[in-house]
């Protein structure tokens, strides 16, 4: 999520240039499967469990986790979409526009919410998500799943489920797609 | 008309080209005791004389403005007779006609005497225009004969037109016995409504209430008809539209006693200037589209228009720091008129000076044929009202350096060609090298 805003920071026209492929598509698939097992193990029975993907990078991962959980435990997990643009504390420092409309069509009161994002970086997106999610009811617990934890935290936030811990430089960029995870630079800015 | 009131030291204007109604020649001009003493090429500098250099310059009879709002009495925060005539001197003028829309208006002998008294020490002659109707209210005739006895030669309700055709007819008839000219601000109130700019494409887009060209034209047509019936002289103030100019052209061709003036902003700016809603571009009559600007220029070129008059209308900043429709109309003009004429009009300098000096002097009754001292030929014995113009010098208009108390020039930042170098009023060099001397 943090990466998305970074890539969308004006002036537009900046391009991501990959330098190293750090996870293959198969690696991502394996990580999804592993994380879904971890989620299932920690939340026995998956009762009242919901996944909420953070716009935009967290949404496909949340959907894949839900599909995997369904295979593992044979139960349907509700998936919501959350855009945290209006909850960020860095509006004004860089343009943050909503990517899509938030869609959480269920009450979160009493639920165990797993926030899902592609990359965990400063932690500010997750902080905003914690605020935003509280508008939809008082969750029994909130957990955090990310495909890549790249470090450089600015807030006391720690993921519960991680696809890969990836040491990075602050100015690098991590790109998570269906084809895998790449590390590279943003040029042309 | 007026005698020199001080024994001035001798003055010589050297090295210029003299241009007046009689033609053009290289000549020095010697001035003493308020009168021109000698005119000729290569004159000897008299002992102790002040020398005004006129190299590469034109020496002209002083300019005469038919239309200035000096604001005193009543709006001294915008202008006084002192500041207004200082601006006039810097603009090359040695006489201005002061419009009567002061507060109180110049509709009585007392009011006129007051202005004459205030203007006694001014750096240019102030000729008072009297109101046609009491309070400029368009209801009852002002005591025109009393005012004429004080020297008033021009009557107008300027700021507004006389709406009633019947009353205007009576005024024209009455004025005939006084040797006076009536001047009309042509604006039919029922058509103008609350218009704040020219009614057209720009007003429609900007949502500013428009004043149609028609509001001016119907009154021009009406007054031409009245001039035909009454035989009285009528002068049209600040004409601004193509049909107005054409009406005057036809009236003159028919031999009617009509004259007309235009203002510099009507040949240099268009209604598109209102796009930024800055009331510094709000005038009345309003700025018109380019086709009207072209017609105004054509009228100046073919002699339909007799004079360029400034319609100098100072307003204190607090009145122009308003939305467009709430701000009063008017722009400064005295210090920019000559330069705008030189910059914008494709006319010989002689024609421009005719439009700015001797033709308006005759309309105002200030020229030698009316026993006045303005606009006449530069010959020995004439009252020395002169201006020296550098026709090729360029300068950039800076509102903060203008002599007026107000700053509402629409030409801020614009570079103009032609500049007044010296102005001599009744023998006194009131402007030397572009600097006011008092």
């Amino acid at each position: 999520m943090a990466e998305r805003e970074r890539s969308h920071t004006r002036p537009r026209g900046a391009v991501f240039v990959p330098r190293a492929q750090v996870m293959s598509a198969a690696d991502v698939h394996r990580a999804i499967t592993r994380m879904s097992h971890e989620i299932a193990e920690r939340n026995r029975g998956l009762e009242h469990l919901v996944l909420i993907g953070l716009q935009t990078g967290g949404v496909p991962i949340a959907e894949r986790l839900a599909a995997s959980l369904e295979t593992v435990e044979s139960t349907t997990i509700p998936v919501g979409i959350l855009d945290v643009a209006f909850y960020r504390d860095d509006i004004g420092l860089r343009p943050v526009l909503p990517e899509a409309v938030t869609d959480i069509s269920f009450d979160l009161t009493g639920a165990t919410v797993v926030l899902v994002d592609d990359v965990l970086f400063t932690g500010r997106t997750v902080r905003a998500a914690l605020n935003a999610v509280s508008e939809y009811g008082r969750a029994q617990a909130v957990q955090l799943a990310v495909m890549v934890d790249r470090g450089h935290r600015e807030l006391p936030i720690r993921p519960d489920y991680v696809g890969k811990n990836l040491p990075t430089r602050r100015d690098e960029m991590v790109d998570v797609t269906e084809d895998g995870v790449a590390l590279g630079d943003v040029v042309g800015r | 008309m007026s005698e020199p009131n001080r024994s001035d030291p001798t003055l010589i204007i050297r090295g210029g080209i003299v241009i007046d109604a009689t033609g053009e020649r290289r000549a020095d001009v010697v001035v003493a005791n308020g009168r021109i003493q000698e005119v000729g090429d290569g004159l000897v500098v008299p002992t102790g004389a002040t020398v005004l250099d006129a190299g590469r310059c034109v020496v002209s009879p002083g300019l005469v403005d038919l239309h200035a709002h000096l604001r005193e009495p009543g709006h001294e925060e915008a202008e006084t007779i002192e500041t207004g005539t200082r601006a006039a001197s810097l603009g090359g003028y040695t006489a201005v006609v002061a419009m009567p829309n002061t507060n109180p208006p110049l509709d009585s002998a007392d009011a006129v005497r007051n202005v004459v008294e205030l203007a006694r020490t001014a750096t240019a002659q102030v000729a008072v225009a009297g109101a046609i109707t009491v309070g400029r209210a368009g209801q009852r005739l002002a005591p025109m004969a009393e005012l004429a006895a004080l020297g008033v030669r021009l009557f107008t309700d300027d700021g507004a037109g006389v709406q009633s055709a019947g009353l205007m007819r009576r005024a024209l008839e009455y004025a005939r016995g006084l040797g006076a000219t009536l001047a009309q601000h042509c604006e039919d109130g029922s058509l103008a409504c609350d218009g704040a700019m020219h009614e057209g494409a720009w007003s429609s887009r900007l949502g500013i209430p428009g004043m149609p060209a028609l509001a001016e034209e119907v009154m021009v047509a009406r007054d031409i008809a009245l001039a035909r019936v009454t035989g009285s002289r009528i002068h049209f103030l600040h004409l601004s539209t193509a049909p107005s100019i054409e009406l005057v052209r036809q009236a003159k061709a028919a031999g009617l006693p009509v004259t007309a003036e235009v203002a510099p902003h009507h040949f240099s700016l268009t209604d598109a200037c209102a796009a930024g809603y800055d009331p510094v571009f709000k005038v009345n009559p309003p700025l018109r589209p380019q086709c009207d600007v072209d017609a105004v220029k054509a009228g100046l070129a073919d002699g339909t228009v007799d004079a360029i008059a400034t319609d100098h209308a100072p307003h204190a900043p607090e009145f122009k720091d308003l939305p467009f429709d709430l701000a009063p109309p008017g722009v400064l003009g005295l210090q920019t008129a000559l330069s705008l004429a030189i910059t914008e009009l494709d006319l010989p300098l002689t024609r421009i000076l005719a439009l700015l000096s001797w033709q308006p002097a005759a309309i105002a009754g200030l020229d030698p044929s009316n026993r006045g001292g303005q606009g006449g030929p530069i010959t020995p014995g004439a009252e020395s009202n002169l201006c020296v113009i550098d026709p090729t010098a360029t300068w950039t208009v800076d509102p903060m350096t203008l002599a007026s108390r107000s700053r509402n020039t629409p030409y801020a930042g614009r570079t103009l060609t032609g500049r007044v170098r010296h102005t001599v009023f009744r023998g006194e060099p009131v402007v030397i090298d572009g600097e006011a001397q008092r």
Binding site: F86, R88, L97 | P323
Partner: protein, 323 residues
């Protein structure tokens, strides 16, 4: 898209991209509006002021609600038009407000161009035009577009349908700031706009207006219309100077039941309000499902939230050190 404009004085400041962005962001705020707590912290620490020189409770409350739902602080300067006459100049008023450190000023003024003048006097604060004279009322037009887009399916699909949309604007176009903003906004998105009014209520010139046609016969225009946008006829205009009477206006231009029956079933009827039932719109027509009058009101807050968010969420907040 380019930088969102610093001031919103007219629809032309936005262009098609800016309009699209406002409508897209408004979608998110409509969702926010449906929550139990319809408030987000997006503009915490920002202050906006409403400065209305003309009474309009609806527009002022809509803006103030929008600002409050974004967690901005709101100051309301109630300025009767009398205080203008009392002497404090508009410039002094605005400079005083700017000196208070306010981020945006939302201004309604009876004079066309007043917000443009204000924008020329301020140094940092943003100026939003909430209606000026006969000139523009941009957020009202944006709200209309939002309502139409929603009715056309919403999202990008709804946006695409503006191309070739037949829009008929009926009423006092001459004196209407809403009409000028609507024409600019619909045209920017590719719609074909037809103006319908008696000649006396059309602007003196439509040179350069991006419209397809002008008509004096509403019955000709209704059958092909996709959107019929009605303007309020102020009663003083119907008192004899512009049209002989309100009754005659209704007979010639009112959207009566008979005329509503000429419309295609999917045609939308819009009215910016406040509407005068029985003059420009018959009461039974105003209550038809096709009439989007209250829908426009509820969308108004979301659209104004989008404008405020896009304008004020984009420039650096003083004193913030977190990056």
């Amino acid at each position: 898209m380019n930088q969102f404009p610093h001031h919103l004085l007219s629809i032309d400041d936005l262009g098609p991209d800016g309009i699209g962005e406002v409508l897209r962001v408004a979608d998110s705020f409509v969702e926010v509006g449906h929550r139990a707590n319809p408030k987000v912290p997006a503009l915490r620490g920002r202050t906006v002021a409403t400065l209305f020189f003309e009474d309009s409770t609806r527009t002022r409350v809509s803006f103030e609600t929008a600002a409050k739902r974004l967690s901005a602080d709101v100051l309301s300067f109630a300025v009767g038009s009398s205080s203008v006459k009392k002497g404090e100049s508009l410039r002094d008023t605005v400079e005083t407000i700017e000196a208070m450190g306010i981020d945006a000023i939302i201004i309604r003024h009876p004079s066309s161009g007043a917000p443009t003048r204000v924008a020329g006097w301020v140094t940092n604060l943003s100026v939003i035009n909430a209606g000026d004279g006969w000139h523009e009322h941009p957020t009202q037009a944006l709200l209309d577009l939002y309502t139409v887009r929603q009715a056309l399916g919403g999202g990008d699909e709804g946006m695409d349908r503006f191309k070739s949309l037949q829009v008929v604007i009926v009423g006092d176009i001459r004196h209407s700031r809403v009409a000028r903003s609507q024409v600019a906004a619909y045209a920017a998105l590719g719609a074909e706009v037809t103006l319908v009014a008696p000649p006396t209520l059309l602007p003196p010139s439509i040179d350069g207006w991006p419209i397809a046609a002008v008509s004096h016969d509403i019955d000709n225009e209704l059958p092909s219309a996709d959107v019929v946008s009605l303007l309020r006829l102020q009663s003083e205009r119907g008192s004899g100077e512009f049209v002989p009477s309100l009754r005659e206006y209704t007979t010639r231009f009112g959207l009566t039941g008979r005329r509503a029956a000429m419309l295609k079933p999917e045609t939308l009827i819009l009215h910016p309000g406040p509407m005068v039932r029985g003059v420009e719109i018959a009461s039974e027509v105003a209550d038809l499902p096709a009439a989007h009058i209250t829908g426009q009101v509820s969308n108004g807050v979301a659209v104004r939230m989008a404008v405020l968010f896009l304008m004020l969420g984009q420039s650096p907040v003083e004193g913030s050190s977190n990056v």
